[in-house]
Symmetry: C2
Subunit: 392 residues, 2 copies
Amino acid sequence: MSYLEQSFSVKFEYKIYFTSSLFDTGNPILANFFKEKPSEALRKIFFVLDKGVADAHPNLVTSIRAYFAQHSDVQLINDIMIVPGGEASKNDTALFDQLVEAVNVYGIDRHSYIAAIGGGAVLDLVGYAAAVSHRGIKHIRIPTTVLSQNDSGIGVKNGINYKGKKNFLGTFAPPSAVLNDDQFLLTLNDRDWRSGISEAVKVALIKDPEFFYWIEANTAQLVARDMDTMNYLIKRCAQLHLNHIAGDDPFETGSARPLDFGHWSAHKLEQLSNFSVLHGEAVAMGIALDSTYSFLTGMLTEEKLQRILNVMLHLSFDISNPFIQINDTESPILRGLAEFQEHLGGKLTITLLTDLGTGKEVHQMDHKLLIEASNYVLNFTSTHAGLPLSDH
Amino acid sequence: MSYLEQSFSVKFEYKIYFTSSLFDTGNPILANFFKEKPSEALRKIFFVLDKGVADAHPNLVTSIRAYFAQHSDVQLINDIMIVPGGEASKNDTALFDQLVEAVNVYGIDRHSYIAAIGGGAVLDLVGYAAAVSHRGIKHIRIPTTVLSQNDSGIGVKNGINYKGKKNFLGTFAPPSAVLNDDQFLLTLNDRDWRSGISEAVKVALIKDPEFFYWIEANTAQLVARDMDTMNYLIKRCAQLHLNHIAGDDPFETGSARPLDFGHWSAHKLEQLSNFSVLHGEAVAMGIALDSTYSFLTGMLTEEKLQRILNVMLHLSFDISNPFIQINDTESPILRGLAEFQEHLGGKLTITLLTDLGTGKEVHQMDHKLLIEASNYVLNFTSTHAGLPLSDH
């Protein structure tokens, strides 16, 4: 036997900018981004907008055109595509086809850009179409929700669904840049505003105790929609997610997914509720369940568990929603465990907590203990809702 | 303005094995490959075969099943999918859909493998489906033609066509392994056997003078289908391609494509001939044209040009095929220049020769000089065909 060996490394770099009013003609961020990457090529940029964002910001298309009229390092494709938002956009393969056709019709090459403005689902859809067109067109993400600004929009994954299976088709493809504009958060309804906070609680609980204490001390300001507080939360949450991606296994070749703490039940819950429960809301419920399970196995003290549950209640999350209740070993939510294992491939790997800020992987979950955990959360909610946070 | 910065590197490694009778139960290569990567996961392997290969090797499916019955570190999916070979397979999106559906039906996860056995087109199609399913299923390539064993099957690209545009959809996704089995070469017809040799001449001309001299000295053995000579050619050509990919810009973010020497006209020629001219045959013609153009600009001596043209003639390539003749500035082949530029994005970058083994990039080509080059090749062919190679 003889063989040749191929080995090389590819470096990926991008920035996540934090700004206000990105398309104000006086805002230099986007213009400078293109200036800093001079090119002899004629570069085009094609915008795709989440319909929800376009509706809430009726001047957005006009602002984008005015911005590129003034800053002309790249040539704006005048047609701006509007796609429905939310998970539905990832189920509709016709939208993917339309994006590919746009690349074809507008002659968008590998030196050009596709920019997506919207929630996580639209960013996932557009990111996937960009990643596979011409083997990868440069992609700019402009996330408009708390969830996408602090988590789903800033990472390296994209994808669409196939026959109801989440992200069945997709790639790992780092964006060229992420631009977080806090003005988009102003028009979110309260559920969307709050929903992304649970991903911050999640990453704090597995990675950063100080950040958890900070969230615990700021639940009132977060619920009251104080923008400075939210901006801090988003930036810290984004940083923790970025560190995780860069540090470990960026393209997820292994089986562990610590950032999926609380997610095995959350994914199933979204599906069981036909997506009437938002991802962040489902994650809040999943965190409550797995934190309680951590306590019941003896890994986490009850006092710490109750601080977590109290934070969720003070953030107005409905952690005892009927969809997550586990009454017996046949409860549909338990199928989420098998599906999570299938998604990872290989053996089941679930992150639990040993402390506020410390995760620990386990490889099985006891169904009876999960029923007990579900009952604990239900009982806790009915007795603690509305009480002040315990001192600490 | 504030920002966070993301930066990480991803290392890619794989081996290209050279063997005979890969699926002989006594051949340890594939079995050892899986043993060397122990996994707690249940790993499956799904095979996709090029119909041309399956027809030429009627025992192949039986051999694969016998091999995995004996070597059971991974579980063979008993159903083996057979797809049509050649460029047509990349035009038929239904084949892509069938592959994705197979991933779904057989529960092939990210710890499992999809193996493709076939020519470059089938490897491109299957590689693309593997790369986007579950954000990347491990992919094993078993190329069966000279062209795919020495060039197209060993690199990092995959893709399918869209509305007739070559590789419009695809990714950069290094395989887990490449397995070159020389027994597949035995059943190639003479055109397929010869066709891949032109990619070796190409890479020799831009990278490795000694390899060009070796080819020049071995044209008779190559045409006579001497297997040892062909095995040396394939391995050296593969090594030069691998070095290029690893050294420069593996995922081709820039505009230069030195390995596409001779390819701007070759791509167009394949299309104009409705793919009746094979890729390697078209590349031989493209090399003849661009080498002659190099001479006419004064970059290359006529003696060296004639050595190149003689090698092509001695390898029985029809370098004066009517499809490549450029009679005037409206000749359809010239549209290949604009299309090549569009494919690269940015400015036109063409590799020419200053010596046997040395390429040089230029950014424009003169249409009148191309007409002259075309006439030169035609005249050379009519006066030199059948003559012995010049001494050197």
